[in-house]
């Protein structure tokens, strides 16, 4: 009994709470990235390898707009719009010709796009990370830390964007179009829904969500041309663990994995804490290959 009591005393409760908050914050950003990815996959069987690059590019556009206008909120909106246009152009130029071909072609094409975007960012902005300030600088006290309100705001804003998008899907006219196209592409076309337009729009929305999360995340660690791969990898893990094409599962998995990584970071180096999410992935593949957060298939 003594040993058990000692073990519970040795758990740093304050650290655990701090890391819980951190985990939820990164989890919400990750959920925003992953829900764009899973949406694009769900509706057109496209695995968007360039999703992390859209995140990175969104952050860079945010940095540029911020230095030009000085307004963070302007940067957030403009960056989402610009990257959405870029996403639409990408979809029309490269993915539309591939409609009806093996989905593996789409992963190859978007991989090519990610190469181009990443090297463009390196060429244009250089290898040094850009740092931008937080738009809200006030703090509150969390144990011995002064915790920035901005991080809480990130989580709330991400949740608001995802929630707004969910409402749009559920009740908006175009949201219904999107869901109809997801369920049955041919039938939707027969009912007069412009399916190619829906595909382009969905890709643009996914790109905008990635860009928005990029801008929101930029003040935390700075913007760098290689950040895309980290995020797309994490988002891939999230959508596999959450069940691909499943929006709710992705959000749950994003928070779950971010929390685990945050807790692991108490005891090991953050670069090794990544391995925790790999382990979650392996266990998921072993026991629930269709995803942790989906009903058991009959």
């Amino acid at each position: 009994m003594d040993a058990v009591a000692h073990f519970f005393q040795s758990i740093p409760v304050d650290l655990l709470i701090i890391q819980t908050v951190n985990g939820v914050v990164t989890g919400m950003i990750l959920a925003l990235v992953a829900s764009g990815l899973t949406l694009i996959f769900g509706i057109m069987d496209v695995v968007n390898f360039a999703h992390g690059e859209l995140f990175m590019l969104g952050a860079y556009v945010g940095v540029l707009v911020l230095t030009a206008t000085g307004s963070f909120w302007m940067a957030l909106v403009l960056s989402a719009l610009i990257v959405a246009l870029l996403g639409a152009a990408m979809q029309i130029l490269t993915l539309r010709p591939l409609l009806g071909r093996d989905p593996l072609n789409t992963i190859l094409v978007t991989f090519g796009i990610s190469l181009i975007l990443q090297n463009y960012a390196l060429w244009q902005f250089g290898p040094v990370a850009r740092k931008i300030g937080e738009p809200i600088t006030s703090h509150f006290n969390l144990f011995y830390l002064t915790y920035p309100w901005y991080r809480i705001l990130i989580a709330v804003l991400s949740a608001a964007i995802i929630g707004g998008f969910w409402l749009f899907l559920k009740y908006g006219k175009y949201g219904v179009w999107i869901r109809a196209t997801t369920q049955d592409r041919v039938m939707a076309q027969a009912m007069g829904i412009p399916v190619p337009m829906v595909h382009t729009a969905v890709f643009a929305i996914g790109a905008a969500m990635a860009a928005a999360s990029g801008v929101l995340f930029a003040p935390l660690v700075g913007v760098n041309h290689t950040m895309g791969l980290d995020w797309v990898l994490k988002a891939f893990i999230v959508v596999v663990v959450g069940g691909m094409g499943n929006l709710g599962g992705s959000i749950a998995a994003a928070i779950f994995i971010s929390l685990l990584e945050a807790y692991a970071a108490i005891w090991v180096d953050p670069s090794q804490a990544v391995i925790v999410s790999f382990v979650v992935l392996i266990l998921t593949l072993l026991f629930r290959p269709t995803g942790l957060f989906v009903p058991t298939p009959k």
Binding site: F41, V47, T94, P97, L98, R101, P103, L104, N105, I107, L108, V109, F111, G112, I113, L115, I116, Q118, N119, Y120, L122, W123, L229, L233, F236, I237, V240, M244, D269, S271, Q272, V274, I275, F278, L281, I282, L285, L286, P289
Partner: protein, 332 residues
């Protein structure tokens, strides 16, 4: 003899001539590659050897992409484990022994391949591609952070082993003899893999590519075939890693990173999947274009932007790759 009907002798004749033409072509290419180091300057000699090594890596992943229909984004893990396996043998055993390096490298790659194969073959298509990518990142994180053993960011440096035939022959590698050694390994791998892909085993892999459900229904244990295919592919990728380590005398974590896997996929798509020789052509095409671009525009030029555009255009308009037109002929 003379009265043999024409219709019966015709198929025999065309079949013979196909085999003959194939091997004559093979010998001509081999002869050119054998002579190449004698006429090329030093820089291009090394360049050609490196293309052959990248070609072997790409060829190994063609077993999965082209023949089994599984796109692997994780070949850097096998390549890197081959590299670090060779490094281990060359650093631990003294004097460094070439054959031991190959043995260690193949062992390392086989271990990685078994691990990846066991988990990722449960999934198909896109899921397979994603999980191979994530698994290769696991190996990258381990190698990058385990500094005491792998050297971390700095990698490992070692000296090149001699070329030995035990008890008979022992000589230092020159760039030319190293080229011939690499060439013989790559050519041997090509002939072997071509034979394997024409065997009943290879036919089952191709039928998994064409229709997995039906292959399973006929009664083939599809999962077991896939595991063997991934392991076979991993072994040859590891062999490429060993050759690269021997040529450049270092092992570095950056080769385990995802970019190596990405390059491998690009070589395959550019050269033409499902041909085995296509990926080698793709590797050569890619490296030559890259060299050309950096000669014209300077070293700072982001050569991956135009190459990425070419890659995308080829997927849309030329999905069979450069050698795709000869695919049937090469596999007959």
């Amino acid at each position: 003899m003379t009265s043999a009907p024409l219709s019966k002798s015709m198929p025999l004749k065309t079949k013979l001539s196909h085999t003959a033409v194939f091997w004559i072509g093979f010998c001509v290419v081999m002869a050119l590659l054998i002579v190449a180091p004698l006429v090329l300057p030093e820089y291009w000699r090394r360049f050609l050897t490196e293309i052959l090594i990248w070609g072997l890596l790409a060829m190994s992943s063609d077993i999965l992409i082209g023949y089994t229909g599984m796109v692997s984004f994780g070949h850097s893990a096998f390549f890197g484990l081959g590299m670090y396996g060779a490094a281990a043998a060359l650093l631990i055993v003294s004097p460094p022994n070439l054959w031991l390096a190959i043995l260690f490298g193949l062992g390392g790659a086989a271990g990685a391949a078994l691990f990846v194969a066991y988990f990722s073959t449960r999934l198909r298509d896109i899921y397979f591609a994603i999980t191979t990518l994530i698994f290769s990142q696991i190996f990258y994180v381990i190698i990058f952070t385990w500094t005491e053993v792998t050297g971390g960011e700095n990698g490992l440096i070692f000296s090149r082993p001699h070329f030995t035939i035990p008890f008979l022959y022992d000589t230092r590698f020159s760039t030319a003899t190293l080229h011939w050694f690499v060439l013989s390994v790559v050519a041997g791998s090509y002939v072997l893999l071509r034979r394997i892909m024409q065997s009943p085993f290879g036919m089952v892999l191709q039928s998994i590519r064409e229709n997995e459900a039906r292959t399973r229904a006929i009664g083939y244990p599809v999962e077991r075939y896939k595991i063997v295919a991934v392991m076979l592919s991993g072994l040859f990728a590891g062999l490429a890693g060993v050759l690269y380590a021997v040529q450049n005398q270092f092992a570095a974590a950056e080769f385990v990173f995802f970019t190596t896997s990405g390059d491998t996929v690009i070589f395959n798509v550019m050269g033409g999947i499902g041909t085995l020789v296509g990926p080698i052509v793709g590797a050569g095409f890619f490296q030559l274009l890259r060299e050309l671009l950096s000669r014209i525009f300077g070293d700072q030029f982001p050569y991956l932007i135009p190459l990425g555009v070419i890659f995308i255009v080829m997927i849309i308009f030329l999905p069979q790759g450069l050698l795709g037109f000869a695919r049937r002929w090469l596999n007959r």
